[in-house]
């Protein structure tokens, strides 16, 4: 089977998923999970050919005009991701069948989650920068629709929008960065980009490209200061949180960094930016995680912390850090996916996710508790879980960082200590703590009210159904098995993935036991301090409040006024800017519109006339003006002035008539008697019609102030001046019509007409006349309809 089918099949199934749901009822989840399960096996089959230099490229033309192909690039890195996506996808689809059973949104959920899975597969398998971007945006979009699945709640809608705007904004930066990269290398194909890294790094546009791409990666992977959308995205149903906002989608940014590190990495800018952002995110989010009371928000912040750690590792850009990052990716997906699904099961069965109200669930939910315990062990980095091996590797990589190894290791150890405590909070406490007495800790910043926590645990808790414990148990079990036998699957996968990240064959040999070393000592220290924080978290919190109040205040401020405050401010600012601007421009007053249009014409036209033509007063042309021409001109001007100043409508109409007659006289003088005849007739008729209408109008009154009228006069004079100047320039050279000689020569012999004007109207340019007749006919319909049809009055 081709990769393209593997990717696109999810979209096809998504289209019919709502029907499958309707027909399959309770078994729909199991039925639909067949596709991701099949895909897992499909990708697993590639494991046999896994060698460090493993790459499969397939390509189909898509939009060759823009250099976009539907090509796919399967190597160790994408295979690791693909396995996670399809594997966890299988469990999540099954899980959701139980979790959302009976909810009206379930059908849509299936469609969207399958669409997401396909998009995510496309993202990690894409072999073309634009194709990657297409799938990248599709994951943002499906994430938007999934966060807002429960769309009648305002908070869900707001969180969905926030996630979309933050990741979407970053996505646009990413697009610009990708296109620029393509322009540097001349190709948008991933293979070409990967082999042209040096050219890009040495290009003048390297820094802009790097910044744009990092913006895309950091927003998607929730790095500080863009992290805030991820905890808010917990408004989504738990299977969505587990799948998109922990195991897969939020790792897209990490994937991108890993994918492009052979191209963009190994420069100072990369080191500082990526490592710095990762370190800040890792530590800050770990601190914030401990302050939460909602299981899901705790998990969300710990996910952010992990994403920070992954980013940090990729920023280090050493072989060791690449290995550590790839293993961490796998480990985290397994334990965090499990913990999220557990959180959902707890919420589902116990009715709340508030850890202050949860406790002693182990007896009622033994399987879930076991899965949670195993996952927590892995998260805390205890043997024999895969997480233990991972932590050793993490510390090794950090200790050997090329720059500031001490600082990086210290931050890493601190963050891990906090996460050990978090693991206890989410994996141990709800099941094994005896009391569910209210926690002493007050509400801490950045948290929100957990829905349904106002009432006590209202359900009698019991074990979750098979569909809902299968996922956590499988994921946690994998963490255990892979920890026991790390040299089987994990070593091969991580080797292949790390090779792709490093751009050269890299071999990883994982083992559970490395002997006693400084790294092991650090591991032990982490667990001991972490456990101490977990046990003594309340006294610790009080102590912190007393001795380092700035830390608590600082976190509170970051929670309230940090980046999320910035987001709110930006949204409000946008709205008020939009309103102000629109009120100014689209004022609703026709006179202002006209003034702006006039001034634009005068400004642009006048500037061009002055700057592009040497505007000079045409010399020697006043000599051939005759006296009666001047007199007619003066007459027209006088009549115009009268029309403007008079307060009698009749005078105004008469004055306008004089203007028209004056123009007709000029026509006569310059040899166009027939034109003048027409003009006379029209002017006469117009004056008559005006006079007829005038009697119906209300009395004359001035509505505009003197200042307004002066302003209008200035605008009108400016417009008049422009047209006058233009006419003078145009007529400064004698007109040499290319048409008149032909019309004169051919009117009689070819058109058989002696009046040339008439021939022009009805023959040479007959189509114009057809158009004008149509205009008149339509005007007739219009007048009739305007007079007769008044739907307002009829409705009254």
């Amino acid at each position: 089977m081709d990769i393209v089918i593997a990717v696109l099949s999810g979209f096809l199934l998504a289209v019919i998923a709502p029907w499958v749901h309707r027909v399959g009822r309770r078994s729909a989840g199991w039925l639909l999970a067949l596709l991701p399960a099949g895909l897992t096996f499909y990708f697993a089959a590639y494991l046999r050919e896994l060698r460090p230099d493993f790459v499969v490229i397939t390509s189909y033309p898509w939009v060759p005009g823009l250099g976009v192909s539907l090509s796919f690039y399967l190597d160790g890195l994408s295979l690791l991701f693909a396995l996670l996506i399809s594997g966890i996808g299988t469990l999540v689809v099954i899980y959701a069948g139980g979790y959302l059973a009976g909810k009206p949104q379930l059908g849509r959920f299936y469609a969207l989650v399958l669409m997401f899975m396909a998009s995510m597969l496309g993202l990690v398998l894409a072999g073309n920068a634009i194709t990657l971007f297409v799938f990248w945006e599709l994951t943002s979009l499906t994430s938007y629709l999934l966060i807002g699945l429960d769309h009648e709640r305002e908070k869900a809608r707001a969180a969905a929008l926030q996630a979309l705007l933050v990741t979407g904004g970053g996505g646009l930066a990413l697009l610009a960065g990708l296109v620029l990269m393509g322009q540097v290398t001349g190709s948008l194909e991933l293979a070409a980009l990967l082999s042209n890294g040096a050219a890009i790094r040495e290009h003048a546009l390297y820094l802009p490209i790097l910044l744009l791409i990092l913006l895309g990666a950091f927003t998607k992977s929730a790095q500080v200061p863009f992290h805030f959308w991820l905890p808010n995205a917990m408004e989504a149903p738990t299977p969505v949180s587990a799948y998109l906002h922990s195991a897969t989608m939020v790792k897209a940014g990490v994937y991108l960094l890993a994918r492009l590190s052979p191209v963009l990495g190994d420069t100072e800018a990369w080191h500082y930016l990526v490592t710095g952002a990762g370190m800040a995110t890792m530590l800050l989010a770990a601190l914030l995680a401990l302050g939460q009371t909602d299981l899901k928000r705790i998990l969300a912040y710990s996910t952010v912390s992990t994403l920070g750690a992954l980013t940090l590792l990729l920023g280090l850009d050493t072989t060791l850090s690449a290995k550590a990052a790839m293993l961490f990716l796998l480990v985290h997906a397994l334990y965090k996916g499990a913990l999220f699904l557990v959180a959902g099961a707890v919420d589902h069965e116990a009715g709340t996710r508030d850890i202050r109200r949860l406790g002693g669930l182990a007896r009622a939910m033994p399987i879930t508790a076991a899965a949670a315990g195993l996952a927590a062990l892995s998260m805390a980095g205890l043997p024999p879980m895969l997480g233990f091996i991972n932590k050793e590797l993490l510390y090794e990589a950090k200790l050997q960082a090329p720059r500031a190894a001490g600082l990086i290791t210290a931050t890493g150890v601190a963050a891990n200590m906090l996460l050990v405590a978090v693991a206890g909070l989410v994996g141990i406490r709800p099941f094994w703590s005896r009391s569910n007495a209210p926690d002493a800790r007050p509400h801490v910043p950045g948290t929100s009210e957990v829905p349904g926590t106002s009432e006590a645990v209202h359900k009698e808790p019991h074990e979750a159904p098979l569909a809902m414990w299968l996922g956590p148990a499988a994921l946690a079990g994998l963490g255990l098995i892979n920890g026991l036998f790390p040299d089987a699957l994990p070593s091969a996968l991580v080797s292949a993935a790390a090779s792709a990240v490093r751009g050269k064959p890299t071999v990883v040999e994982l083992a559970l036991w490395h002997g006693i070393s400084p790294i092991f000592a650090l591991s032990v220290l982490t667990v001991i301090v972490g456990a101490a924080i977990y046990v003594g978290r309340d006294p610790l919190y009080r102590a912190a409040q007393r001795f380092v109040p700035w830390l608590i205040t600082g976190l509170r401020v970051v929670g309230h006024w940090g980046p999320e405050g910035g987001y709110d401010l930006a949204l409000r600012g946008l709205n008020s800017l939009a309103t102000t601007q629109t009120r100014l421009l689209q004022s609703g007053y026709l006179r202002f519109y006209l003034i702006i249009v006039m001034l634009t014409t005068v400004g642009l036209g006048g500037y061009t006339l002055l700057s592009r033509t040497g505007l000079t007063w045409p010399a020697g042309r006043s000599s051939d003006v005759r006296l009666y021409e001047i007199l007619i001109g003066l007459l027209i001007l006088a009549a115009t002035l009268l029309a403007l100043l008079s307060t009698s409508r009749l005078t105004v109409v008469a004055a306008l008539g004089v203007v028209g007659y004056g123009v007709a006289l000029i026509f006569t003088l310059f040899g166009a008697p027939d034109l003048a005849m027409t003009q006379f007739a029209i002017e006469t008729l117009t004056v008559f019609l005006f006079v007829l209408v005038l009697y119906r109008l209300p009395r004359f009154a001035y509505y505009s102030s003197r200042r307004d009228r002066i302003r209008d006069a200035v605008v009108a004079l400016a417009a008049g001046a422009l047209m006058t100047a233009l006419v003078l320039v145009v007529t400064s050279a004698p007109l040499q019509s290319r048409l008149t000689p032909y019309f004169v020569a051919n009117a009689v012999p070819l058109a058989r007409g002696r009046n040339i004007d008439n021939v022009i109207l009805v023959d040479f340019r007959g189509l114009d006349t057809l158009g004008e007749i149509t205009v008149l006919a339509v005007a007739g319909i219009g007048v009739y309809a305007l007079l007769k049809l008044r739907l307002d009055e009829k409705n009254k």
Partner: protein
Amino acid sequence: MNLILVLPLIVPLATAILTVLAGRWRWAQRWLSALGAAALLAAALALLEFVRREGIQVAYIGNWPAPYGITLAADLFSAIMLVLAGLMGLAVAVYSLASMDPARERFGYYPLLHILLMGVCGAFLTGDIFNLYVWFEVMLVSSFVLVALGGERAQLEGAIKYVTLNLMSSALFLAAVGSLYGVAGTLNMADLAVQLHQVAQPGLVTTLSILFLVAFGIKSAIFPLFFWLPASYHTPPVAVSAIFAGLLTKVGVYALIRVFTLLFVQDVAFTHTLILILAGLTMVTGVLGAVAQNSFRRILSFHIVSQIGYMIMGLGLFTPLALAGSVFYIAHHIIVKTNLFLISGVTQRLGGSDYLKKLGGFYAAYPGLGVLFLIPALSLAGIPPLSGFWAKLTLIVAGLDTGQYAIVAVALGVSLLTLFSMTKIWGEVFWKPAPARAALPASQVGLAGMILPIAVLALLTLSIGLLAEPLLALSTAAAEQLLNPAAYIQTVLGGR
């Protein structure tokens, strides 16, 4: 004479006349209108195919040779625009059957619609600058009557602003044509292209080009000339708004592209840079206007303005890829924007209002309509892989190619704001629960007739998105013709 070139004028004119004659029989009017619209689309498709195979087509009206008589000329750009006009005409004609009230039908709605189409087609076809003015007048008067038809208070208020500002455009256009004739002594556009190169004062030609820029700028609703559009588009029946939204401003854009590729290329560094600046300002002011609105159709109206910015951005960049982007953008936009207006008609019919506050609950009640809305809405915001993404991508690539980073940044930022205001509609109309008082009415009479064109247009948007290459290749070929006008000039003038 080349009959295939004249059909897009004759068909709507004949349809209009026949619908007037059938005035007493409402059913006959309706059938004739739909059939006429279908025939127009067929004629346009045939023309496009013909132009694709045989190259640029010319018809000399009355057999008077160019440049003396009036010439119709169809290159790929014209033919593409004609097909779009035919498509929108048919979509709106069908939609009208289900949505137009009998009173307006009795007072000449269908003849007006087809005269409007005739004006639009004439503008796309003509090779004569004064004849273009005539078609603009046909469009203006028929659209004015359509805006005002019904005589509701809001309609009349919008119509006054509409007609006054558009008459300004006409006056400027006429003055510019007159001056141009005074300078070059000819009206045929191909001949003008030749003559303008030999004018003693190229600066004067540049000045005249600015008059055309303003006149067509008003028509295409660019910054700061767009006021008539948001003032009037939300007032008439939705079918009227929809055909306006799809076609009217695009005629202005067509005219801009035509004259600034064929006639006014003397001072590209000045004129086209100015166009590029106006493009950026149009995008920004338009989208901010949309953000400030609270009714479905007003949001859509401001987005037309914003999107015009993208279309003339390609003209301002003035490279083959950029112009291809413009052509692609126009095609994408016409389909998507008309469709969004048609959808606003359905929500208005079912929800009884156009105000976001009073609407809601549509996703729960009509999930299918939700999908039909999302396709054009997300396409408008440039979400891949829908049609708008490829349009935007082409322009962005062209902008980055030429190092115009500022306009690219604006284009990207505005697309995020577009997404923001599309999600506003989505959140308010579809996601939000229906307001307590406004229970959705059960009456769904004629709904299928309204949904049919919406579904077809959405499908088209989706297909263009998934299979973008054919349209992109066509747009690229059209752009190449535009940038190398020698073939056009040769074809028009060569037949002497």
